[in-house]
């Protein structure tokens, strides 16, 4: 579908230009900076809703397409479009774009204009990542997005922010360099930067394997997968609340999205051959990280580890399809796994975002993230306790909340591939509840831990607004996920048909491949 007006461009450039304007306001006009940021993000959110309402659920083709030559010499294009995978993720991004502005309203006092501007620019760049259909354009957004996040952690972060930012930057940068090599190789092979063209490009076995590993380097760091996950806890701990929220809610999803957009369709044969690797790492993530989360003393670290564990469901859900195709003639379960992975990403966005906001609420009051400094918070902050228990329950996959839906789908699907996949992921039912609710026991419940806790003020209207919005989202997806999964069906079906067709060149016909 060709769009009449460039919605995607607006969604990218509106927040970026808005961000520039906010930054230009200068340090003195903090309240104007806040209001302008809020207006820009609200307008972006409102615009993005049209993506959902005008979306054609019956086609897997790219929609809202915009295509202009950009750097003709290298055939690089300004090529945008969305399908059932990227559209929900863009909505998630614009949704959090608003929430982060509200959540930081009076919490950030120094250099408000730069802080708000960073988030607006980041929002635009992330929408760019999800909508870019030109490989190099994607890469530009993918890398550029790191800069505002780097600044946010580096300038408004905690005491070890320098270590955390460098670790974060080097980790992700190192990963994406390998991807860049892959992208250039694809350009040389196909003579085009168009990702949809690459999906159709026949590739030899060895070439696919190298490409797959290159993509894996970039996306496994991003999502992150075990064992390249150790940057995440450090980044979260040092990041200000808003940074943690965007990092957990949106940035991690770019890793999952990358697997869907690049690894699976471009290198289906390598994906099929190396699915055991992804599955093994996913299962390690779910179980191993579950145990590690159990012993964390720092609330943000605990939630960060919990995120890694939950992302294990995403990578597992995406890659069990091959096992199901091999095992039986009945492919039921493959689509369930992929859609489960998508739902898990959206849901984890809501839940982890909400959890980091909850920790932020406490941190703003007591300036500690340590579990031992709290205890009995429910006594002085009953409304906060209500929200925190709800979100931690969602984190432990309680039915009726969004946290249940994706995990449920992936576990059901993985039983189809192998009993032990289902068994090991199912352990998260116990582990997730253990680390989530043990934290609740030590922080929220119990007798009042200290005089500081006794004097805590319950959440104010602004905080209540943010948490209520997220609670509504978590419950809506939990009680009625149909609208969310309906938009994916066509794209998922297409992807699954696509990955079953080998892209290996027929013997002797094409001399592609290394």
């Amino acid at each position: 579908m060709e769009s009449n007006w460039p919605v995607l461009s607006l969604l990218i450039w509106l927040p970026i230009i808005g961000g520039a304007l906010v930054a230009a306001l200068g340090q003195q006009k903090a309240s104007q900076a806040r209001i302008l940021s809020l207006l820009v993000s609200l307008l972006t959110l409102a615009l993005s809703v049209t993506l959902f309402t005008d979306f054609d659920r019956d086609t897997a083709a790219m929609q809202f397409v915009e295509r202009q030559p950009w750097i003709d010499a290298f055939r690089i294009e300004y090529f945008l479009g969305v399908d059932g995978f990227s559209m929900p993720l863009i909505l998630l991004t614009t949704f959090f774009g608003v929430l982060v502005v509200i959540a930081s309203w009076e919490v950030i006092r120094s250099r408000v204009h730069q802080y708000m501007a960073s988030f607006l620019v980041m929002e635009g760049l992330m929408v760019g990542v999800f909508s870019a259909l030109d490989g190099l354009l994607f890469y530009v957004f993918f890398e550029a997005m790191l800069i505002p996040m780097f600044l946010v952690i580096g300038m408004w972060g905690g005491p070890r922010r320098v270590y955390a930012t460098i670790k974060f930057f080097l980790y992700t940068f190192l990963g994406s360099v390998f991807m860049l090599v892959g992208l250039i190789y694809l350009y040389l092979q196909s003579g085009s930067w168009s990702i949809p063209d690459w999906h159709q490009l026949p590739l030899g076995g060895q070439a696919q394997t190298w490409l797959f590993l290159g993509f894996l380097a970039a996306f496994s760091v991003k999502i992150p997968m075990w064992p390249v996950h150790t940057w995440l806890p450090d980044a979260h701990v040092e990041a200000p609340t808003g940074g943690s929220v965007i990092l957990a809610a949106i940035m991690l999803k770019i890793g999952g999205y990358g697997f869907i957009r690049f690894s699976l369709p471009i290198t289906p044969d390598a994906s099929s051959q190396l699915d055991w690797l992804i599955i093994a790492l996913s299962l390690i993530a779910v179980v191993y990280i579950g145990f590690v989360a159990l012993v964390q003393q720092d609330m943000k670290k605990l939630i960060a580890y919990s995120s890694i564990s939950h992302m294990g469901f995403v990578t597992l859900g995406l890659f069990i399809a091959f096992g199901i195709f091999r095992n039986s003639s009945d492919p039921q379960g493959a689509a369930l796994g992929v859609e489960g992975a998508m739902v898990q990403m959206i849901s984890h966005g809501f839940v982890s975002g909400a959890l980091f906001l909850c920790v932020g609420v406490l941190y703003d009051r007591l300036h500690s993230r340590m579990i031992r400094d709290y205890g009995g918070v429910a006594n002085s902050m009953p409304w906060f306790a209500f929200f925190a228990v709800l979100f931690f329950m969602a984190n432990s996959g309680l039915p009726g909340t969004s946290g249940f839906v994706g995990e449920f789908m992936v576990i059901l699907a993985s039983f189809k591939a192998n009993f032990w996949y289902a068994f090991l992921t199912g352990l998260n039912l116990v582990l997730g509840a253990a680390y989530s609710l043990w934290l609740v026991k030590r922080v929220i419940f119990g007798d009042v831990g200290s005089t500081e806790v006794a004097e805590l003020q319950d959440i104010n209207r602004r905080e209540a607004l943010v948490l209520t919005t997220l609670a509504a989202a978590v419950l809506l997806v939990g009680l009625w996920p149909a609208p969310l999964v309906d938009v994916m069906h066509a794209s998922v079906a297409e992807l699954l048909v696509h990955i079953q067709q080998s892209k290996l060149p027929v013997m002797g016909a094409v001399s592609a491949g290394i």
């Binding site: 228990v389 309680l398 009993f419 253990a434 026991k441």
Partner: protein, 663 residues
């Protein structure tokens, strides 16, 4: 009003009441909270009773329909929908009736608690969740309700969240239940794997086809798929219905306020597992192995947990162990394919066990939250209504002829005797001995609480927090909001068995929900000897269970009424046995050292050794260190002295020349 609307209103009214009472606390006030929830649950009860009446007397058939489509993915329809047959409508009535009684009772019991409105909100939310569970027509919603009742149970056990013991107990309860739910979820995944559907009707229709299939969990080992599924599902039931070895959470759940011990941890939620297995009878019937497992688990729980009840001093814990034991009886009944008998006992037990718990609660408030029976005694003359209803509940529990518990328990014991399932003779002895044990601990409780001399003293100047055994005021009978529910529960505890045994067990009244293969149908065998409730009661005087019950009564009377010193002497005679029972077979200690400590150690080890040590220490920061070390060395060369650079150039030049000359 159409039937569909009625059915929708039944769960939604308590839900609406729960939301309003919980979130609009300031607006509705205390009275508003209890009136809203009581009316919501009362209307739900009346409507449930109407549905039951329509089905029994007006020929309303069973209903099975979808309320809304939760999601469609991969061609699988995930629905929220209702299946209302006789089994469902019976459960709906039991749940809403006990819930209503507990709501009314709570007005008195919790009157001085600051969390009054929160409590009403929770119990109304529980009623909604439990109704969704029993009314479900598919596995998704079943799991939904299953976990939702677990959530409310968690919130209510930890209701007094300042108490360390309460928030320990609720975490434990939730986690142990999650272990069960883990099995349950695998079972559901197995169902989807085998049938491609989660709808009861579609799954049951395909059940015979699953029967022949095998499934390989470990390479080289082929299992009956149906057995794998049923065992997994039953693990879920073991969590929720507290069967050994997943029973450890239930005694601790007594940390919650007494009304919820009656509602959730005796009458309704803990029976969800029993209900579930009965609902799944078309599947369980196909696996003799799974049913044997079910039966033996139940038999062990029935006897072993009853024995612990003998040595408990906390009045609520005695009843809690009694609940475990009775749930064991129900499970045994399921295991011998006497599903109707299990449901029948579930129903009678709901009434008399709720009665006993609420009676215990009445005693506890009279004694200002004293739960230790060693500081009770002689309450008979102060609390006549509580005393009388406690006797009624006890007689029903021990199975005194003509009372409700007699019919349901005797039916189970007879059914086990008739069964030819592997291990059934072992189970028979367990349930038979269990009668003696039940009778003994029950009468012991009655004597210690209501009879003999008071073991507390009254001191009007004792202050607000007197030591154990000292009261500020004479105990007195509880207010009417407490005693009326006691009386209303006592009535069905007496009569419900006599009036319903024939239709429920032998009249095929549950046949629209329960499937029993002809070769397993022990209840049909029993039915041939059944000549009405009166004849069964008269016949009982010549049977072993009756005399075992009498023996328990006599023993308890001698030890706790006539020769009070005897109890201590017995205790010192058998110190090993007493210690074993007092420590509940050391189950908690075992789990603590085997799982809890190990899990934390493992997490700590993985975090410190693997994450921080290996990945971060060696690989990430190690490579960074390597780079900086190399850089530090190399940097020395950039000294800035011209003569060093010149010297290096000359060396280089010589080197190049040398290579050129040699080659």
């Amino acid at each position: 009003m159409s039937v569909e609307t009625t059915l929708l209103l039944i769960p939604l009214l308590p839900l609406a009441a729960a939301i309003i009472a919980g979130l609009l606390r300031a607006q509705v006030g205390r009275a508003g909270a209890h009136w809203l929830t009581i009316i919501g649950v009362a209307v739900a009860f009346v409507l449930s009773a109407w549905v039951l009446y329509q089905q029994v007397f007006e020929g309303l058939g069973s209903l099975n329909y979808s309320v809304y489509t939760w999601m469609i993915s991969d061609g699988i329809r995930f629905e929220v929908g209702f299946l209302v047959d006789h089994l469902t409508s019976l459960m709906m009535c039991v749940v809403t009736f006990v819930s209503l009684m507990v709501h009314v009772y709570t007005v008195g019991y919790m009157s001085e608690d600051p969390g009054y409105q929160r409590f009403f909100s929770y119990i109304a939310l529980f009623t909604f969740s439990m109704l969704m569970l029993v009314m479900s027509n598919n596995f998704l919603q079943l799991f939904f309700g299953w976990e939702a009742v677990g959530l409310v149970s968690y919130l209510l056990i930890g209701f007094w969240y300042k108490r360390e013991s309460a928030i320990f107990a609720n975490l434990k309860a939730f986690l142990v239940n999650r272990v069960g739910d883990f099995g349950f979820l695998l079972g559901i995944a197995g169902i989807l794997y085998a049938t491609g559907s989660l709808d009861y009707a579609e799954v049951f229709a395909q059940a015979p086809e699953i029967a022949g299939q095998t499934y390989s969990i470990l390479p080289g080992m082929e299992w009956q798929l149906i057995t794998v599924i049923c065992v997994c599902l039953f693990i879920g039931a073991m969590g929720k219905s507290a069967q050994a070895p997943l029973h450890v959470w239930l005694p601790d759940s007594m940390e919650g306020p007494t009304p919820i011990s009656a509602l959730i941890h005796a009458a309704t939620m803990v029976t969800a597992g029993i209900f579930m297995v009965a609902r799944m009878s078309p599947l369980f019937e196909l696996s003799d192995a799974a049913l044997s497992f079910v039966m033996l688990t139940g038999a062990f729980t029935a006897l072993a947990m009853g024995l612990i009840g003998i040595v408990q001093n906390d009045i609520k814990r005695v009843i809690a162990y009694s609940t475990l034991s009775q749930l064991g009886y129900m499970t045994v009944a399921l295991g011998v394919s006497a599903y109707s008998a299990a449901i029948f006992h579930l129903m009678t037990h709901a009434f008399f066990k709720a009665l006993l718990f609420l009676g215990a609660g009445s005693v506890i408030i009279a004694l200002h939250h004293q739960q230790d029976m060693r500081f009770m005694g002689g309450l008979r003359k102060h609390m006549p209504i509580t005393w009388l209803t406690a006797w009624v509940g006890t007689l029903a529990l021990v199975g005194f002829p003509l009372l409700s518990g007699f019919y349901s328990k005797d039916a189970i014991i007879e059914a086990v005797a008739e069964s030819h399932r592997f291990g059934s003779s072992l189970a028979y002895w367990a349930v038979l001995l269990g009668v003696l044990v039940t009778s003994f601990y029950s009468f012991r409780l009655l004597y210690l609480v209501f009879h003999g001399k008071p073991r507390y003293t009254v001191d009007h100047e004792a202050g607000d927090h007197p030591p154990d055994g000292v009261l500020q005021h004479e105990p007195h009978e509880s207010p009417w909001v407490v005693t009326v529910p006691l009386v209303l529960l006592a009535i069905p505890s007496v009569v419900i068995g006599y009036f319903t045994i024939d239709p429920v067990l032998f009249g095929g009244w549950l046949d629209d929900a329960i499937t029993v293969l002809p070769q397993n149908d022990v209840l049909a065998e029993l039915g041939q000897h059944f000549h009405g409730g009166m004849a069964m009661a008269l016949h009982a005087f010549g049977t072993a269970p009756f005399w075992l019950m009498i023996a328990g009564f006599v023993l308890a009377t001698v030890i706790y009424r006539l020769q009070p010193a005897l109890a201590d002497r017995l205790k010192s005679r058998m110190p090993g046995l007493h210690r074993l029972l007092e420590n509940k077979y050391y189950w908690d200690e075992l789990y603590q050292s085997l799982f809890v400590k190990r899990a934390v150690q493992l997490g700590q080890g993985l975090w410190e050794k693997a994450d921080a040590g290996l990945i971060d220490g060696l690989l990430v920061n190690g490579s960074a260190r390597l780079v900086s070390n190399v850089a530090a060395r190399v940097r020395l060369w950039q000294s800035g002295y011209l003569f060093q650079y010149a010297f290096a150039m000359i060396l280089g030049l010589i080197g190049i020349l040398a290579v050129w000359v040699v080659v």
